[in-house]
């Protein structure tokens, strides 16, 4: 069996079938989508106003990958401004529609980290003082009670920290919260909306540097399984979150839809969110030429010697292979699956150059299985 090195590769370019935080984040092809998302990040710093951007397209079309890519690469992507801080938070749409926003709230806290939230608020308390933080939150219509609670997240006292953490996760008793001067639990979905909005407002209210928060909510298509009450509650809560924060905040909603036009997305997403959308980024079905560009970028990144454009693949071999995929399956995920299998076949059969003949033999071997 040939090694990857014998095939001029440092690593298998097509091994990532499902994006994961430990994956190789190489952006391949999809230049328009990358440029639009990059622009959204730039715009967030040029204008204060909030953005709601809808990424939609087929399954395996690169939406989740885009979320991970920008989450884990934004420090490299936006290095020119040391005074700027990018906060990325990624969560998935809760599978269960009952109290979905409450779940989303807790997923946000876990994804960004309670410790980081606590440290940011503590640092701001020390530098700006409690009154200034109160003024900031009250100016955004965060209630007095929740303002108090959010500021307590940055409290030094160990007991207060323990109780306020329980309060956020819904496990504090009424007696416990009274001990730290609070009188109202986080209960209804609007409470969680205001509380999360307050946290985001403080995280982006930094005065020593410009901070912007980019919140990615993946798999919004799962809302189709919610009943009407859950659907309305969840979509209206997200809308209220966006309206309450209203600046220094960008929300990306990833939505899977194989076919359809704007009206279809509007029906599926609901009026509440559609009405707040700034623009959408379409992760369109690939043409074969898009697939070739995608493969080229990945191969190039992992080649040991990249003086020969596609080596160990021949361009014609990639083209033939991509044409075996039905149009609906011409997506990054399906291309990765197919190219990964082809590469494995070539290695197992001691091929060092992947030609159309190898593709043909590979296809026959699949049929004979």
């Amino acid at each position: 069996m040939k090694t990857l090195q014998e095939l001029n590769l440092n690593k298998n370019p097509f091994e990532m079938l499902t994006p994961s935080p430990n994956g190789n984040f190489v952006w391949a092809g999809m230049k328009v989508q990358k440029a639009k998302i990059t622009n959204a990040y730039e715009q967030a710093f040029q204008m204060n106003s909030r953005q709601l951007i809808l990424n939609w397209g087929p399954v395996g079309g690169g939406k989740t990958f885009a979320a991970y890519y920008f989450k884990f690469k934004s420090k490299e992507l936006f290095p020119k401004a040391p005074n700027r801080e990018v906060i990325n938070v990624y969560v998935r749409t809760p599978k269960d529609g009952g109290n979905a926003f409450t779940q989303l709230f807790r997923d946000f806290i876990d994804s960004y980290s309670m410790t980081k939230i606590r440290e940011s608020i503590k640092e701001m308390l020390g530098r700006l003082g409690k009154e200034e933080l109160e003024r900031t939150l009250r100016a955004s219509n965060i209630s007095e009670e929740f303002t108090k609670a959010i500021i307590k997240l940055g409290d030094d006292d160990e007991q207060t920290q323990r109780i306020i953490t329980s309060y956020v996760y819904g496990t504090a008793t009424a007696a416990e919260i009274k001990k730290i001067g609070l009188f109202r639990q986080l209960k209804a979905e609007p409470d969680f909306v205001k509380f999360l909005a307050g946290i985001i407002i403080l995280l982006t209210a930094e005065t020593t540097k410009e901070t912007r928060l980019f919140f990615w909510i993946d798999e919004m298509e799962d809302m189709v399984y919610y009943n009407s009450k859950q659907f309305k509650q969840f979509s209206q809560s997200i809308r209220d979150l966006v309206d309450t924060i209203n600046e220094k905040f960008t929300l990306f909603l990833n939505f899977t839809l194989s076919e359809g036009e704007d009206d279809t997305v509007k029906t599926l997403l609901g009026e509440a969110l559609w009405s707040r959308k700034n623009y959408d980024i379409r992760f369109k079905d690939f043409k074969v030429s898009d697939g070739i560009e995608y493969c080229k970028d990945l191969i190039h990144y992992f080649q040991i010697d990249n003086s020969v454009e596609f080596f160990p693949f021949e361009l014609s071999a990639i083209e033939v292979l991509l044409k075996t995929l039905p149009t609906a399956l011409l997506t990054p995920r399906e291309i990765n699956k197919k190219m990964n299998a082809l590469l494995m076949y070539a290695r197992e059969n001691d091929k060092t150059q992947i030609s159309t003949q190898v593709v043909s033999n590979f296809e026959s071997s699949i049929l004979s299985e």
Binding site: G97, V224, N227, S228, F231, G260, T264, L268
Partner: protein, 233 residues
């Protein structure tokens, strides 16, 4: 409006009773609303009544009322329909007995000169586009075939100005989509977790379920929009 006969199966009965909204301070289901339609008579076979009563999801007291809707054959006995078009499979207690009996109910109504007949079924395996009873049903094109989704369209067109407005119609579509497809989604998750299906098969099938759910929501929402256009014109 001349009298409409709606021949309902157990599956549709369950779907239409699955969620309620408040009407005149009472919890009201789509089935309750269908019963309220003055010119509509709900009928079904004895087997369907028994199936409904056996279903644990149904309130027992309510289920007993279902007996009032059992159809008594007028023109030909059930055995005649069974022998001539179902190869005695009803008597042999083979599959889809209730749906077959309901076809016989619809045919008997037609022979009794009741010409506005709806065959209401959500049992896709038996009566859906590719259902195994579909060929028999095609031989007797004397009734309309509805699912619970068509009931929502009917209620909206009939009562949009009274108690079933645009928002309620759209909400009902969402509730039906949620009920029908969430169950399919959870079934696949269970099969994946018990290793009954592979991860690849799960991914492919879950995608199809989601696409089907999206298609239903869009298709029926668009139909409600069409009705709204007509009502508003």
């Amino acid at each position: 409006m001349s009298n409409i006969y709606c021949v309902i199966d157990a599956c549709s009965y369950i779907y239409l009773n699955q969620f309620t909204f408040t009407l005149n301070e009472k919890d009201t289901s789509l089935y309750d609303l269908l019963k309220k339609v003055k010119s509509l008579t709900i009928k079904h076979s004895r087997t369907i009544a028994d199936e409904i009563k056996r279903n644990k999801a149904i309130d027992k007291r309510e289920a007993l009322k279902i007996d009032n809707h059992v159809y008594h054959f007028v023109k030909l006995p059930l055995e005649h329909y069974d022998k001539s078009i179902f190869s005695n499979s009803i008597a042999l207690k083979a599959g889809d007995r209730g749906e077959k009996e309901n076809i016989a109910v619809a045919l008997d109504l037609f022979l009794d000169r009741k010409f506005s007949i709806i065959y209401l079924s959500d049992d896709k395996k038996a009566t859906g586009e590719t259902g195994h009873l579909r060929e028999i049903m095609f031989a007797f094109p004397y009734y309309q075939i509805w699912s619970s989704f068509e009931v929502v369209l009917f209620l909206y067109f009939s009562f949009s100005r009274k108690f079933f407005d645009y928002t309620r119609a759209l909400d009902s579509i969402q509730d039906l989509v949620s009920f029908v497809f969430k169950a399919k989604q959870l079934d696949l998750v269970t099969k994946r977790d018990s290793k009954e299906i592979s991860m690849d098969e799960f991914s492919s099938r879950i995608q199809k379920v989601r696409e089907e759910a999206q298609n239903y929501k869009v298709k029926y929402s668009n139909r409600i929009d069409l009705i709204r256009n007509l009502i508003a014109a």
